[in-house]
Symmetry: C2
Subunit: 319 residues, 2 copies
Protein backbone atom coordinates (compact mmCIF):
# COMPACT_ATOMS: atom_id res chain seq x y z
CA UNK A 1 0.00 0.00 0.00
CA UNK A 2 1.46 3.41 -0.89
CA UNK A 3 2.37 5.11 2.41
CA UNK A 4 0.39 8.24 1.57
CA UNK A 5 -2.89 6.36 1.10
CA UNK A 6 -5.55 6.45 3.80
CA UNK A 7 -8.29 3.87 3.45
CA UNK A 8 -11.69 5.45 4.06
CA UNK A 9 -13.80 2.30 3.80
CA UNK A 10 -13.24 -1.45 4.08
CA UNK A 11 -15.48 -4.01 2.42
CA UNK A 12 -14.93 -7.59 3.56
CA UNK A 13 -15.81 -10.64 1.47
CA UNK A 14 -18.66 -11.57 3.81
CA UNK A 15 -21.79 -12.88 2.07
CA UNK A 16 -23.66 -9.59 2.48
CA UNK A 17 -21.03 -7.78 0.37
CA UNK A 18 -20.94 -10.36 -2.45
CA UNK A 19 -23.11 -10.67 -5.54
CA UNK A 20 -22.65 -12.80 -8.64
CA UNK A 21 -24.66 -11.04 -11.35
CA UNK A 22 -24.70 -7.46 -12.67
CA UNK A 23 -28.06 -5.98 -11.64
CA UNK A 24 -28.86 -2.29 -11.22
CA UNK A 25 -31.61 -3.13 -8.72
CA UNK A 26 -29.10 -4.37 -6.12
CA UNK A 27 -28.87 -2.19 -3.02
CA UNK A 28 -25.44 -0.65 -2.62
CA UNK A 29 -23.40 -2.12 0.22
CA UNK A 30 -21.46 1.13 0.56
CA UNK A 31 -21.90 4.77 -0.47
CA UNK A 32 -18.76 6.87 -0.99
CA UNK A 33 -17.86 10.44 -1.89
CA UNK A 34 -15.61 11.28 -4.83
CA UNK A 35 -12.02 11.08 -3.58
CA UNK A 36 -12.72 8.26 -1.14
CA UNK A 37 -10.47 5.20 -0.95
CA UNK A 38 -12.02 1.75 -0.57
CA UNK A 39 -10.24 -1.51 0.27
CA UNK A 40 -12.17 -4.45 -1.19
CA UNK A 41 -11.67 -8.03 -0.05
CA UNK A 42 -12.34 -10.17 -3.13
CA UNK A 43 -13.02 -13.89 -3.34
CA UNK A 44 -11.49 -15.98 -6.11
CA UNK A 45 -13.48 -16.49 -9.32
CA UNK A 46 -14.79 -19.93 -8.30
CA UNK A 47 -15.78 -18.73 -4.82
CA UNK A 48 -13.59 -21.17 -2.89
CA UNK A 49 -14.54 -24.35 -4.76
CA UNK A 50 -10.87 -24.87 -5.66
CA UNK A 51 -8.33 -24.67 -2.86
CA UNK A 52 -4.67 -25.28 -2.20
CA UNK A 53 -5.12 -29.06 -2.24
CA UNK A 54 -7.62 -29.40 -5.07
CA UNK A 55 -7.26 -31.64 -8.10
CA UNK A 56 -8.21 -31.18 -11.74
CA UNK A 57 -11.25 -33.33 -11.00
CA UNK A 58 -12.40 -30.85 -8.36
CA UNK A 59 -12.12 -28.12 -10.95
CA UNK A 60 -14.05 -30.17 -13.53
CA UNK A 61 -16.84 -30.70 -10.99
CA UNK A 62 -17.06 -27.07 -9.89
CA UNK A 63 -20.41 -25.31 -10.16
CA UNK A 64 -20.61 -22.12 -12.17
CA UNK A 65 -23.58 -20.79 -10.21
CA UNK A 66 -21.45 -18.59 -7.90
CA UNK A 67 -19.24 -17.23 -10.74
CA UNK A 68 -18.05 -14.49 -10.42
CA UNK A 69 -18.44 -13.49 -6.76
CA UNK A 70 -18.00 -9.70 -6.89
CA UNK A 71 -17.55 -7.32 -3.99
CA UNK A 72 -20.00 -4.41 -4.10
CA UNK A 73 -21.90 -2.65 -5.44
CA UNK A 74 -20.54 0.72 -4.33
CA UNK A 75 -22.66 3.82 -4.90
CA UNK A 76 -20.47 6.82 -5.78
CA UNK A 77 -22.18 10.09 -4.90
CA UNK A 78 -22.80 12.37 -7.86
CA UNK A 79 -22.20 9.81 -10.59
CA UNK A 80 -24.92 10.02 -13.23
CA UNK A 81 -25.56 8.27 -16.54
CA UNK A 82 -23.20 9.68 -19.17
CA UNK A 83 -20.47 10.40 -16.63
CA UNK A 84 -17.25 8.45 -16.32
CA UNK A 85 -16.16 6.74 -13.10
CA UNK A 86 -12.43 7.17 -12.54
CA UNK A 87 -10.93 4.30 -10.56
CA UNK A 88 -7.35 4.76 -9.44
CA UNK A 89 -5.91 1.34 -8.59
CA UNK A 90 -3.65 1.84 -5.59
CA UNK A 91 -2.74 -1.53 -4.18
CA UNK A 92 -3.23 -5.29 -4.43
CA UNK A 93 -2.45 -7.98 -1.83
CA UNK A 94 -2.85 -11.69 -2.54
CA UNK A 95 -3.22 -14.40 0.08
CA UNK A 96 -0.30 -16.64 -0.87
CA UNK A 97 -1.86 -18.95 -3.42
CA UNK A 98 -3.79 -19.09 -6.66
CA UNK A 99 -4.84 -21.50 -9.40
CA UNK A 100 -4.95 -21.77 -13.17
CA UNK A 101 -6.92 -24.49 -14.89
CA UNK A 102 -9.04 -25.45 -17.82
CA UNK A 103 -12.35 -27.24 -18.12
CA UNK A 104 -12.92 -28.53 -21.67
CA UNK A 105 -15.77 -30.66 -22.86
CA UNK A 106 -19.39 -29.68 -22.65
CA UNK A 107 -18.64 -26.38 -20.90
CA UNK A 108 -16.77 -25.32 -24.04
CA UNK A 109 -14.77 -22.77 -22.09
CA UNK A 110 -11.41 -21.38 -23.14
CA UNK A 111 -9.85 -20.77 -26.54
CA UNK A 112 -9.12 -24.44 -27.36
CA UNK A 113 -11.79 -26.65 -25.72
CA UNK A 114 -11.64 -28.99 -28.71
CA UNK A 115 -7.93 -29.71 -28.11
CA UNK A 116 -8.24 -31.08 -24.56
CA UNK A 117 -10.40 -33.95 -23.39
CA UNK A 118 -9.74 -33.66 -19.67
CA UNK A 119 -9.49 -30.79 -17.21
CA UNK A 120 -6.14 -29.55 -15.98
CA UNK A 121 -5.16 -27.59 -12.88
CA UNK A 122 -2.09 -25.97 -11.40
CA UNK A 123 -2.16 -24.55 -7.87
CA UNK A 124 0.46 -21.84 -7.49
CA UNK A 125 2.42 -20.89 -4.42
CA UNK A 126 2.65 -17.13 -4.64
CA UNK A 127 5.57 -15.17 -3.23
CA UNK A 128 5.64 -11.40 -3.19
CA UNK A 129 7.04 -11.22 -6.72
CA UNK A 130 6.59 -14.57 -8.46
CA UNK A 131 4.30 -17.56 -8.77
CA UNK A 132 5.84 -21.05 -8.92
CA UNK A 133 4.98 -23.34 -11.83
CA UNK A 134 6.47 -26.77 -12.65
CA UNK A 135 10.15 -27.44 -13.48
CA UNK A 136 11.44 -24.33 -11.74
CA UNK A 137 9.45 -21.99 -13.96
CA UNK A 138 8.65 -18.74 -12.16
CA UNK A 139 6.01 -16.34 -13.48
CA UNK A 140 6.42 -12.71 -12.31
CA UNK A 141 3.31 -11.36 -10.60
CA UNK A 142 1.54 -8.13 -11.42
CA UNK A 143 -1.89 -8.27 -9.83
CA UNK A 144 -5.07 -6.85 -11.34
CA UNK A 145 -8.85 -7.29 -11.16
CA UNK A 146 -10.09 -9.58 -13.95
CA UNK A 147 -13.55 -8.08 -13.40
CA UNK A 148 -14.05 -4.38 -12.73
CA UNK A 149 -17.11 -2.45 -13.80
CA UNK A 150 -20.35 -0.60 -13.21
CA UNK A 151 -23.94 -1.79 -13.31
CA UNK A 152 -25.49 -1.69 -16.79
CA UNK A 153 -28.58 0.43 -17.53
CA UNK A 154 -30.51 -2.57 -18.79
CA UNK A 155 -32.69 -3.99 -16.03
CA UNK A 156 -32.44 -7.54 -14.79
CA UNK A 157 -29.65 -9.94 -13.88
CA UNK A 158 -26.72 -10.07 -16.31
CA UNK A 159 -24.17 -12.87 -16.45
CA UNK A 160 -20.73 -11.73 -15.26
CA UNK A 161 -18.82 -13.78 -17.86
CA UNK A 162 -18.90 -11.33 -20.81
CA UNK A 163 -17.52 -7.80 -20.49
CA UNK A 164 -19.81 -4.94 -21.62
CA UNK A 165 -19.71 -1.20 -22.36
CA UNK A 166 -19.60 -0.55 -18.59
CA UNK A 167 -16.65 -2.91 -18.16
CA UNK A 168 -16.88 -6.15 -16.21
CA UNK A 169 -14.85 -9.23 -17.02
CA UNK A 170 -12.38 -7.45 -19.33
CA UNK A 171 -9.26 -9.33 -18.17
CA UNK A 172 -7.01 -6.46 -19.20
CA UNK A 173 -3.73 -7.48 -17.53
CA UNK A 174 -2.36 -3.94 -17.56
CA UNK A 175 -4.85 -2.67 -14.93
CA UNK A 176 -2.17 -3.03 -12.27
CA UNK A 177 -1.32 -0.91 -9.22
CA UNK A 178 -0.68 2.65 -10.35
CA UNK A 179 -3.14 2.39 -13.23
CA UNK A 180 -6.27 4.48 -13.61
CA UNK A 181 -9.35 2.91 -15.18
CA UNK A 182 -12.18 4.95 -16.74
CA UNK A 183 -15.60 3.25 -16.73
CA UNK A 184 -18.77 4.57 -18.41
CA UNK A 185 -21.59 5.24 -15.93
CA UNK A 186 -25.07 4.06 -16.95
CA UNK A 187 -27.01 4.32 -13.65
CA UNK A 188 -27.14 6.77 -10.76
CA UNK A 189 -24.24 6.18 -8.37
CA UNK A 190 -22.41 4.00 -10.96
CA UNK A 191 -22.87 0.88 -8.74
CA UNK A 192 -19.27 -0.28 -9.02
CA UNK A 193 -18.10 -3.82 -8.21
CA UNK A 194 -14.86 -5.72 -8.61
CA UNK A 195 -13.39 -9.19 -8.08
CA UNK A 196 -12.08 -12.19 -10.03
CA UNK A 197 -8.53 -11.03 -9.32
CA UNK A 198 -5.49 -12.42 -11.12
CA UNK A 199 -1.97 -12.52 -9.72
CA UNK A 200 -0.72 -12.68 -13.33
CA UNK A 201 -2.13 -13.43 -16.78
CA UNK A 202 -1.00 -13.51 -20.38
CA UNK A 203 -2.77 -11.20 -22.84
CA UNK A 204 -5.61 -13.43 -24.03
CA UNK A 205 -6.15 -15.56 -20.89
CA UNK A 206 -6.39 -18.44 -23.29
CA UNK A 207 -7.32 -21.38 -21.06
CA UNK A 208 -10.07 -19.22 -19.40
CA UNK A 209 -8.23 -18.62 -16.12
CA UNK A 210 -5.35 -16.38 -15.15
CA UNK A 211 -3.64 -17.02 -11.83
CA UNK A 212 -6.98 -16.86 -10.00
CA UNK A 213 -6.42 -15.66 -6.46
CA UNK A 214 -8.39 -14.23 -3.54
CA UNK A 215 -7.07 -10.73 -3.03
CA UNK A 216 -7.46 -7.29 -1.48
CA UNK A 217 -7.94 -4.43 -3.95
CA UNK A 218 -7.56 -0.80 -2.87
CA UNK A 219 -8.92 1.94 -5.15
CA UNK A 220 -9.74 5.65 -5.12
CA UNK A 221 -12.89 6.86 -6.87
CA UNK A 222 -13.69 10.05 -8.69
CA UNK A 223 -16.51 11.18 -10.98
CA UNK A 224 -15.51 12.72 -14.31
CA UNK A 225 -18.17 14.82 -16.00
CA UNK A 226 -15.63 16.17 -18.51
CA UNK A 227 -15.07 12.82 -20.19
CA UNK A 228 -17.23 11.06 -22.76
CA UNK A 229 -16.32 7.48 -23.57
CA UNK A 230 -18.27 4.57 -25.01
CA UNK A 231 -16.24 1.71 -23.47
CA UNK A 232 -13.57 1.52 -20.73
CA UNK A 233 -10.19 3.20 -21.12
CA UNK A 234 -7.12 3.26 -18.89
CA UNK A 235 -3.75 4.76 -18.12
CA UNK A 236 -1.06 2.24 -17.25
CA UNK A 237 2.64 1.54 -17.31
CA UNK A 238 2.27 -2.16 -17.88
CA UNK A 239 3.65 -4.71 -17.34
CA UNK A 240 4.45 -5.00 -21.04
CA UNK A 241 7.07 -7.67 -20.41
CA UNK A 242 7.60 -9.64 -17.20
CA UNK A 243 10.87 -7.90 -16.35
CA UNK A 244 9.58 -4.44 -17.22
CA UNK A 245 12.12 -4.03 -20.01
CA UNK A 246 12.63 -5.48 -23.45
CA UNK A 247 13.84 -9.04 -23.06
CA UNK A 248 14.23 -12.20 -25.15
CA UNK A 249 10.95 -13.73 -26.24
CA UNK A 250 10.07 -16.73 -28.37
CA UNK A 251 7.08 -16.07 -30.60
CA UNK A 252 4.76 -18.11 -32.76
CA UNK A 253 2.53 -16.73 -35.49
CA UNK A 254 -1.02 -17.67 -36.36
CA UNK A 255 -2.02 -16.77 -39.91
CA UNK A 256 -5.62 -17.24 -41.06
CA UNK A 257 -8.50 -15.45 -42.75
CA UNK A 258 -10.43 -15.22 -39.47
CA UNK A 259 -8.97 -13.38 -36.48
CA UNK A 260 -10.15 -15.94 -33.92
CA UNK A 261 -8.76 -18.79 -36.03
CA UNK A 262 -5.43 -16.93 -36.31
CA UNK A 263 -5.46 -16.59 -32.51
CA UNK A 264 -6.09 -20.32 -32.08
CA UNK A 265 -3.26 -21.15 -34.47
CA UNK A 266 -0.77 -18.90 -32.66
CA UNK A 267 -1.63 -20.53 -29.32
CA UNK A 268 -1.58 -24.07 -30.74
CA UNK A 269 1.86 -23.40 -32.20
CA UNK A 270 3.06 -22.09 -28.82
CA UNK A 271 1.69 -25.18 -27.05
CA UNK A 272 3.59 -27.32 -29.58
CA UNK A 273 6.74 -25.27 -28.92
CA UNK A 274 6.46 -25.63 -25.13
CA UNK A 275 5.80 -29.34 -25.50
CA UNK A 276 8.59 -30.02 -28.00
CA UNK A 277 11.30 -27.69 -26.69
CA UNK A 278 10.50 -27.12 -23.01
CA UNK A 279 9.30 -30.62 -22.09
CA UNK A 280 5.91 -29.54 -20.78
CA UNK A 281 2.78 -31.63 -21.18
CA UNK A 282 0.23 -30.03 -23.49
CA UNK A 283 -1.98 -29.29 -20.50
CA UNK A 284 0.87 -27.60 -18.62
CA UNK A 285 1.70 -25.64 -21.77
CA UNK A 286 -1.92 -24.48 -22.14
CA UNK A 287 -1.95 -23.32 -18.52
CA UNK A 288 1.39 -21.52 -18.91
CA UNK A 289 0.12 -19.76 -22.05
CA UNK A 290 -2.86 -18.47 -20.09
CA UNK A 291 -0.64 -17.23 -17.25
CA UNK A 292 2.38 -15.82 -19.11
CA UNK A 293 2.13 -15.72 -22.93
CA UNK A 294 0.99 -12.43 -24.53
CA UNK A 295 -1.13 -12.25 -27.68
CA UNK A 296 -0.55 -9.37 -30.07
CA UNK A 297 -2.42 -8.48 -33.24
CA UNK A 298 0.42 -8.00 -35.73
CA UNK A 299 -1.77 -7.02 -38.66
CA UNK A 300 -5.47 -6.88 -39.47
CA UNK A 301 -5.09 -5.30 -42.90
CA UNK A 302 -3.27 -7.71 -45.22
CA UNK A 303 -6.45 -9.20 -46.65
CA UNK A 304 -7.56 -11.88 -46.67
CA UNK A 305 -5.15 -13.19 -44.01
CA UNK A 306 -4.52 -11.73 -40.54
CA UNK A 307 -1.50 -12.32 -38.31
CA UNK A 308 -1.71 -12.90 -34.54
CA UNK A 309 1.52 -13.49 -32.60
CA UNK A 310 2.03 -15.19 -29.21
CA UNK A 311 5.07 -14.14 -27.13
CA UNK A 312 6.74 -16.33 -24.51
CA UNK A 313 9.25 -14.58 -22.19
CA UNK A 314 12.41 -16.65 -21.84
CA UNK A 315 13.10 -15.15 -18.40
CA UNK A 316 10.50 -17.35 -16.71
CA UNK A 317 12.64 -20.46 -17.22
CA UNK A 318 15.43 -21.45 -14.81
CA UNK A 319 18.93 -20.81 -16.20
CA UNK B 1 25.98 -3.27 -39.08
CA UNK B 2 27.50 -5.42 -36.31
CA UNK B 3 31.30 -5.14 -36.64
CA UNK B 4 31.77 -8.91 -36.74
CA UNK B 5 29.51 -9.38 -39.77
CA UNK B 6 31.00 -9.98 -43.19
CA UNK B 7 28.59 -9.58 -46.09
CA UNK B 8 29.01 -12.41 -48.57
CA UNK B 9 26.55 -11.21 -51.20
CA UNK B 10 24.88 -7.94 -52.17
CA UNK B 11 21.56 -7.74 -54.00
CA UNK B 12 20.69 -4.29 -55.35
CA UNK B 13 17.14 -3.13 -56.04
CA UNK B 14 17.74 -3.16 -59.80
CA UNK B 15 14.81 -4.43 -61.85
CA UNK B 16 16.40 -7.82 -62.43
CA UNK B 17 16.40 -8.52 -58.67
CA UNK B 18 12.79 -7.44 -58.07
CA UNK B 19 9.58 -9.43 -58.35
CA UNK B 20 6.07 -8.59 -57.17
CA UNK B 21 4.34 -11.95 -56.82
CA UNK B 22 5.20 -15.16 -54.99
CA UNK B 23 5.92 -17.77 -57.68
CA UNK B 24 8.02 -20.90 -57.26
CA UNK B 25 8.84 -20.91 -60.99
CA UNK B 26 10.90 -17.71 -60.71
CA UNK B 27 14.61 -18.22 -61.32
CA UNK B 28 16.68 -17.41 -58.26
CA UNK B 29 18.71 -14.21 -58.56
CA UNK B 30 21.26 -15.55 -56.09
CA UNK B 31 22.28 -18.93 -54.68
CA UNK B 32 23.85 -19.04 -51.22
CA UNK B 33 25.31 -21.61 -48.83
CA UNK B 34 24.00 -22.03 -45.29
CA UNK B 35 25.87 -19.52 -43.11
CA UNK B 36 26.11 -16.90 -45.85
CA UNK B 37 25.21 -13.26 -45.18
CA UNK B 38 23.23 -11.32 -47.78
CA UNK B 39 22.62 -7.57 -47.90
CA UNK B 40 19.34 -6.82 -49.71
CA UNK B 41 18.46 -3.41 -51.08
CA UNK B 42 14.66 -3.17 -50.80
CA UNK B 43 12.29 -0.75 -52.50
CA UNK B 44 9.36 0.76 -50.61
CA UNK B 45 5.99 -1.02 -50.77
CA UNK B 46 4.60 1.26 -53.50
CA UNK B 47 7.74 1.00 -55.62
CA UNK B 48 8.58 4.70 -55.66
CA UNK B 49 5.10 6.00 -56.56
CA UNK B 50 5.09 8.08 -53.35
CA UNK B 51 8.13 10.25 -52.68
CA UNK B 52 9.31 12.92 -50.30
CA UNK B 53 7.10 15.57 -51.92
CA UNK B 54 3.98 13.52 -52.60
CA UNK B 55 0.45 14.41 -51.56
CA UNK B 56 -2.46 12.29 -50.35
CA UNK B 57 -3.84 12.56 -53.89
CA UNK B 58 -0.70 10.93 -55.27
CA UNK B 59 -1.22 8.11 -52.82
CA UNK B 60 -4.89 7.77 -53.77
CA UNK B 61 -3.91 7.53 -57.45
CA UNK B 62 -1.11 4.99 -56.94
CA UNK B 63 -1.28 1.74 -58.88
CA UNK B 64 -1.22 -1.50 -56.93
CA UNK B 65 0.26 -3.46 -59.84
CA UNK B 66 3.86 -3.23 -58.55
CA UNK B 67 2.92 -4.04 -54.91
CA UNK B 68 4.99 -5.40 -53.18
CA UNK B 69 8.33 -5.15 -54.97
CA UNK B 70 10.39 -7.86 -53.28
CA UNK B 71 14.12 -8.47 -53.57
CA UNK B 72 14.94 -12.07 -54.48
CA UNK B 73 14.32 -14.91 -54.73
CA UNK B 74 17.39 -16.39 -53.05
CA UNK B 75 18.04 -20.13 -53.40
CA UNK B 76 19.54 -21.54 -50.20
CA UNK B 77 21.56 -24.70 -50.90
CA UNK B 78 20.27 -27.79 -49.15
CA UNK B 79 16.87 -26.42 -48.17
CA UNK B 80 14.15 -28.95 -48.94
CA UNK B 81 10.40 -29.07 -48.41
CA UNK B 82 9.68 -29.78 -44.73
CA UNK B 83 12.84 -27.99 -43.57
CA UNK B 84 12.89 -24.64 -41.82
CA UNK B 85 14.82 -21.65 -43.14
CA UNK B 86 16.51 -19.77 -40.29
CA UNK B 87 16.92 -16.07 -41.06
CA UNK B 88 19.04 -14.11 -38.61
CA UNK B 89 18.24 -10.41 -39.05
CA UNK B 90 21.52 -8.56 -38.57
CA UNK B 91 21.07 -4.99 -39.70
CA UNK B 92 18.70 -2.43 -41.24
CA UNK B 93 19.53 0.93 -42.85
CA UNK B 94 16.85 3.32 -44.05
CA UNK B 95 17.38 6.11 -46.57
CA UNK B 96 16.20 9.09 -44.52
CA UNK B 97 12.49 9.15 -45.27
CA UNK B 98 9.32 7.12 -45.27
CA UNK B 99 5.54 7.49 -45.54
CA UNK B 100 2.36 6.36 -43.84
CA UNK B 101 -1.00 6.79 -45.49
CA UNK B 102 -4.45 5.40 -46.03
CA UNK B 103 -6.53 4.88 -49.11
CA UNK B 104 -10.20 4.37 -48.26
CA UNK B 105 -13.08 4.05 -50.64
CA UNK B 106 -13.33 1.43 -53.32
CA UNK B 107 -9.97 -0.12 -52.47
CA UNK B 108 -11.40 -0.99 -49.06
CA UNK B 109 -7.92 -1.21 -47.57
CA UNK B 110 -7.11 -0.81 -43.90
CA UNK B 111 -9.08 -1.60 -40.75
CA UNK B 112 -11.51 1.32 -41.00
CA UNK B 113 -12.12 2.14 -44.69
CA UNK B 114 -15.74 3.02 -43.89
CA UNK B 115 -14.65 5.78 -41.48
CA UNK B 116 -12.64 7.86 -43.95
CA UNK B 117 -13.82 9.31 -47.24
CA UNK B 118 -10.53 10.71 -48.48
CA UNK B 119 -6.96 9.47 -48.53
CA UNK B 120 -4.40 10.74 -46.02
CA UNK B 121 -0.61 10.81 -46.13
CA UNK B 122 2.27 11.73 -43.88
CA UNK B 123 5.82 11.80 -45.22
CA UNK B 124 8.31 11.26 -42.39
CA UNK B 125 11.80 12.63 -42.04
CA UNK B 126 13.72 9.78 -40.45
CA UNK B 127 16.68 10.32 -38.16
CA UNK B 128 18.76 7.46 -36.85
CA UNK B 129 16.42 6.89 -33.92
CA UNK B 130 13.10 8.65 -34.56
CA UNK B 131 10.63 9.62 -37.26
CA UNK B 132 9.05 13.08 -37.13
CA UNK B 133 5.25 13.38 -37.14
CA UNK B 134 3.14 16.55 -36.70
CA UNK B 135 3.09 18.78 -33.58
CA UNK B 136 6.52 17.68 -32.37
CA UNK B 137 5.47 14.04 -32.03
CA UNK B 138 8.45 11.70 -32.48
CA UNK B 139 8.00 7.99 -33.11
CA UNK B 140 10.99 5.82 -32.14
CA UNK B 141 12.25 3.67 -35.00
CA UNK B 142 12.88 -0.05 -34.91
CA UNK B 143 13.13 -1.26 -38.48
CA UNK B 144 11.85 -4.59 -39.79
CA UNK B 145 10.74 -6.22 -43.03
CA UNK B 146 6.95 -6.09 -43.43
CA UNK B 147 7.27 -8.91 -45.94
CA UNK B 148 9.67 -11.82 -45.42
CA UNK B 149 9.04 -15.31 -46.69
CA UNK B 150 9.65 -18.29 -48.92
CA UNK B 151 7.96 -19.34 -52.15
CA UNK B 152 4.83 -21.44 -51.62
CA UNK B 153 4.56 -24.99 -52.99
CA UNK B 154 1.40 -24.17 -54.91
CA UNK B 155 2.25 -23.32 -58.51
CA UNK B 156 1.39 -20.01 -60.13
CA UNK B 157 1.56 -16.35 -59.17
CA UNK B 158 0.34 -15.49 -55.67
CA UNK B 159 -0.60 -12.00 -54.52
CA UNK B 160 1.88 -10.62 -51.97
CA UNK B 161 -0.78 -8.90 -49.85
CA UNK B 162 -1.83 -11.82 -47.61
CA UNK B 163 0.71 -13.70 -45.48
CA UNK B 164 0.74 -17.49 -45.77
CA UNK B 165 2.18 -20.59 -44.06
CA UNK B 166 5.57 -19.76 -45.62
CA UNK B 167 5.45 -16.18 -44.29
CA UNK B 168 5.19 -13.16 -46.56
CA UNK B 169 3.41 -9.97 -45.57
CA UNK B 170 3.20 -10.78 -41.85
CA UNK B 171 3.94 -7.25 -40.57
CA UNK B 172 5.28 -8.59 -37.28
CA UNK B 173 6.92 -5.46 -35.85
CA UNK B 174 9.18 -7.45 -33.54
CA UNK B 175 11.29 -8.90 -36.41
CA UNK B 176 13.94 -6.27 -35.71
CA UNK B 177 17.76 -6.41 -35.84
CA UNK B 178 18.95 -9.18 -33.54
CA UNK B 179 15.85 -11.29 -34.16
CA UNK B 180 15.84 -14.71 -35.77
CA UNK B 181 12.92 -15.72 -37.97
CA UNK B 182 12.03 -19.33 -38.75
CA UNK B 183 10.19 -19.89 -42.06
CA UNK B 184 8.71 -23.19 -43.30
CA UNK B 185 10.30 -24.38 -46.56
CA UNK B 186 7.91 -25.68 -49.24
CA UNK B 187 10.16 -25.83 -52.34
CA UNK B 188 13.76 -26.81 -53.06
CA UNK B 189 16.12 -23.97 -52.12
CA UNK B 190 13.38 -22.18 -50.13
CA UNK B 191 13.32 -19.27 -52.67
CA UNK B 192 13.45 -16.53 -50.04
CA UNK B 193 12.49 -12.89 -50.71
CA UNK B 194 12.01 -9.82 -48.57
CA UNK B 195 10.96 -6.16 -48.85
CA UNK B 196 8.12 -3.82 -47.84
CA UNK B 197 10.26 -2.55 -44.97
CA UNK B 198 8.91 -0.44 -42.12
CA UNK B 199 10.91 2.01 -40.04
CA UNK B 200 8.28 1.58 -37.30
CA UNK B 201 4.76 0.22 -36.95
CA UNK B 202 2.13 -0.33 -34.29
CA UNK B 203 0.93 -3.89 -33.70
CA UNK B 204 -1.97 -4.11 -36.13
CA UNK B 205 -0.75 -1.71 -38.84
CA UNK B 206 -4.30 -0.43 -38.81
CA UNK B 207 -4.36 2.09 -41.66
CA UNK B 208 -2.61 -0.49 -43.96
CA UNK B 209 0.84 1.14 -43.92
CA UNK B 210 3.61 1.30 -41.35
CA UNK B 211 6.34 3.85 -41.85
CA UNK B 212 7.00 2.55 -45.38
CA UNK B 213 10.62 3.13 -46.29
CA UNK B 214 13.18 1.96 -48.82
CA UNK B 215 15.85 0.15 -46.85
CA UNK B 216 18.83 -2.19 -46.76
CA UNK B 217 18.29 -5.51 -44.94
CA UNK B 218 21.22 -7.72 -43.94
CA UNK B 219 20.51 -11.33 -42.95
CA UNK B 220 22.32 -14.61 -42.37
CA UNK B 221 20.74 -17.86 -43.61
CA UNK B 222 20.80 -21.36 -42.25
CA UNK B 223 18.82 -24.52 -42.96
CA UNK B 224 17.27 -26.30 -39.98
CA UNK B 225 16.34 -29.92 -40.55
CA UNK B 226 15.75 -30.46 -36.82
CA UNK B 227 12.74 -28.14 -36.67
CA UNK B 228 9.16 -28.83 -37.72
CA UNK B 229 6.81 -25.85 -37.80
CA UNK B 230 3.58 -25.14 -39.62
CA UNK B 231 3.81 -21.34 -39.75
CA UNK B 232 6.60 -18.82 -39.05
CA UNK B 233 8.11 -18.40 -35.58
CA UNK B 234 10.74 -16.03 -34.23
CA UNK B 235 13.08 -15.10 -31.41
CA UNK B 236 13.13 -11.40 -30.55
CA UNK B 237 13.68 -8.88 -27.81
CA UNK B 238 11.15 -6.44 -29.09
CA UNK B 239 10.55 -3.54 -29.12
CA UNK B 240 7.68 -4.15 -26.73
CA UNK B 241 7.43 -0.47 -25.87
CA UNK B 242 9.06 2.44 -27.72
CA UNK B 243 11.55 3.15 -24.95
CA UNK B 244 12.39 -0.51 -24.37
CA UNK B 245 11.08 -0.38 -20.80
CA UNK B 246 7.67 -0.16 -19.16
CA UNK B 247 6.38 3.36 -19.60
CA UNK B 248 3.12 5.29 -19.32
CA UNK B 249 0.53 4.31 -21.93
CA UNK B 250 -3.02 5.43 -22.57
CA UNK B 251 -5.23 2.54 -23.62
CA UNK B 252 -8.68 2.12 -25.10
CA UNK B 253 -10.70 -1.08 -25.03
CA UNK B 254 -12.86 -2.57 -27.76
CA UNK B 255 -15.47 -5.01 -26.47
CA UNK B 256 -17.61 -6.97 -28.92
CA UNK B 257 -18.77 -10.48 -29.77
CA UNK B 258 -16.55 -10.58 -32.88
CA UNK B 259 -12.79 -10.21 -32.57
CA UNK B 260 -12.45 -8.01 -35.67
CA UNK B 261 -15.29 -5.78 -34.48
CA UNK B 262 -13.61 -5.49 -31.05
CA UNK B 263 -10.41 -4.48 -32.85
CA UNK B 264 -12.24 -1.80 -34.83
CA UNK B 265 -13.84 -0.44 -31.67
CA UNK B 266 -10.52 -0.22 -29.81
CA UNK B 267 -8.96 1.70 -32.72
CA UNK B 268 -11.99 3.97 -33.18
CA UNK B 269 -11.88 4.82 -29.48
CA UNK B 270 -8.17 5.62 -29.77
CA UNK B 271 -8.77 7.85 -32.80
CA UNK B 272 -11.44 9.66 -30.74
CA UNK B 273 -8.97 10.02 -27.87
CA UNK B 274 -6.21 11.42 -30.10
CA UNK B 275 -8.69 13.80 -31.71
CA UNK B 276 -10.30 14.99 -28.47
CA UNK B 277 -7.27 15.11 -26.16
CA UNK B 278 -4.25 15.48 -28.44
CA UNK B 279 -5.72 17.83 -31.05
CA UNK B 280 -4.99 15.62 -34.03
CA UNK B 281 -7.29 15.39 -37.04
CA UNK B 282 -8.93 12.00 -37.37
CA UNK B 283 -6.74 11.25 -40.38
CA UNK B 284 -3.58 12.13 -38.46
CA UNK B 285 -4.81 10.00 -35.58
CA UNK B 286 -5.46 7.03 -37.88
CA UNK B 287 -1.94 7.34 -39.31
CA UNK B 288 -0.39 7.63 -35.84
CA UNK B 289 -2.28 4.54 -34.68
CA UNK B 290 -0.82 2.60 -37.61
CA UNK B 291 2.71 3.80 -36.82
CA UNK B 292 2.80 3.72 -33.02
CA UNK B 293 -0.26 2.19 -31.27
CA UNK B 294 -0.06 -1.49 -30.26
CA UNK B 295 -3.04 -3.85 -30.32
CA UNK B 296 -3.23 -6.56 -27.69
CA UNK B 297 -5.79 -9.33 -27.30
CA UNK B 298 -6.75 -9.02 -23.63
CA UNK B 299 -9.16 -11.95 -23.58
CA UNK B 300 -10.71 -14.35 -26.09
CA UNK B 301 -12.48 -16.52 -23.53
CA UNK B 302 -15.17 -14.46 -21.75
CA UNK B 303 -17.96 -15.52 -24.08
CA UNK B 304 -19.72 -14.06 -25.86
CA UNK B 305 -17.65 -10.83 -25.72
CA UNK B 306 -13.92 -10.45 -26.45
CA UNK B 307 -11.65 -7.59 -25.34
CA UNK B 308 -9.02 -5.99 -27.59
CA UNK B 309 -6.93 -3.14 -26.18
CA UNK B 310 -5.01 -0.40 -28.04
CA UNK B 311 -1.96 1.15 -26.30
CA UNK B 312 -0.61 4.64 -27.02
CA UNK B 313 2.85 5.42 -25.58
CA UNK B 314 2.86 8.85 -23.94
CA UNK B 315 6.60 9.23 -24.60
CA UNK B 316 6.06 10.09 -28.27
CA UNK B 317 4.55 13.48 -27.37
CA UNK B 318 6.69 16.56 -26.67
CA UNK B 319 6.87 17.49 -22.98
Amino acid sequence: MPSDVTVDHELSDADENIHSAWDNSLDPVLTVEPGDVVRFECRDALDGQVGRNSTAEDLANASFDPVHPLTGPVHVEGAEPGDVLEVELLDFEHKGWGFTGFMPGEMGLGLLPEDFEEAGLHVWDLDDDVGHFVDGIEVPLDMFPGTIGNAPAEDGEHDTLPPRDVGGNMDVKHMTAGSTVYLPVEVDGALFSTGDCHAAQGDGEVCVTGIEAPMFVTARFDVRKDLDIEQPQLETSGPFTPTGRDEPMYATTGIADDLMEATKKAVRHMIDHLHDHRDLTRGEAYILCSAAVDLKISEVVDAPNWTVTAYLPESIFPE
